[in-house]
Symmetry: C2
């Protein structure tokens, strides 16, 4: 993540949402706009070998479910925390993409007055929205109460903010934070 990416990549192929966000974060970092990093994937390590004269090798490990969101950092002294998800659907965003403990974590962050949100990408539409955590909680509760398991596209438009997609940064979510938080 410390390496700069060649500009030609963008013209030639679609990068993943996560790569685009990491590139955006790298831009924010270098420009002294914000310091945001993706957390490492949590791993349960079971067996490690320590060969002589070379690096330790993990021989058995498993992916653990993350207990928090993927991204966090600082913008003008304020704490920022978010999760990013994408869907190929065009008319709604499925809520099963989120886990109960991620929602719980976001509730803790909001109580502590952090800036907390989700980035929702409709990849078939090439549209990316920032939805504040408080709005997500409403739709999550609706699902938990047995009602619809997704957020309609219209609801995302009405409760979220369209994030400008550009060249540098690729996904300018700080611009939205700056305007609306």
């Amino acid at each position: 993540s410390g390496r700069s990416t060649s500009p030609t990549l963008y013209g030639n192929r679609g990068m993943s949402l996560e790569e685009d966000l990491q590139e955006s974060n790298q831009y924010y970092l270098i420009q002294n706009i914000a310091v945001v990093h993706k957390k490492p994937t949590p791993i349960q390590i079971v067996d490690v070998h320590y060969p002589k004269r070379s690096a330790a090798v993990i021989k058995e490990a498993y992916f653990k479910q993350a207990s928090t969101t993927d991204f966090n950092g600082v913008y003008k002294g304020r704490y920022i925390d978010f999760e990013a998800k994408e869907t190929k659907n065009k008319t709604s965003f499925p809520l099963q993409n989120f886990h109960a403990h991620q929602i719980q974590h976001m509730q803790y962050v909001v109580k502590q007055n952090g800036i907390c949100f989700v980035i929702l990408m409709f990849s078939s539409l090439n549209e990316i929205y920032l939805l504040p955590a408080e709005k997500l909680f409403y739709f999550w509760e609706r699902k938990e109460s047995g009602q619809r398991k997704s957020i309609t596209k219209t609801e995302v438009e009405e409760n979220g903010y369209l994030i400008p997609i550009g060249y540098q940064p690729r996904i300018d979510y700080i611009k939205v934070i700056n305007e609306f938080f």
Copy 2:
């Protein structure tokens, strides 16, 4: 980390600095005082097997050096970021415990107005200090310029804050932040 720890543990054995901090963070979380987590250890995954009907198994992976600090989170809306280290020395704290890219990360955080510091434990003395990042930078630069490779105990005392050690939370670093930041 989501599980509560038995209180009897503390009377019976010394926990590690990291465990003590995780316990303190869990206390802050439950009491709605702050939301701070340790980041997962970064791992470079080389080979993963996907057995039928069971979880993916990582068969070859390596430890990567962390490019940021270990702990971050939010306190009253403010971003908190720190690294924790211990030494058995009684008269000085060795600076080789820190890596150049961690210092670089802390410099970015300070520029972005985050609350940034290190927690330094003198384990033989049972004393734990909070040293603000700006002070650490001074001693780091001194080392980089070819002078002493450690911070003397007296310098830690004069530039840092003694953190109260107690029962719950075990290491009350938020109390220091609340008073001095």
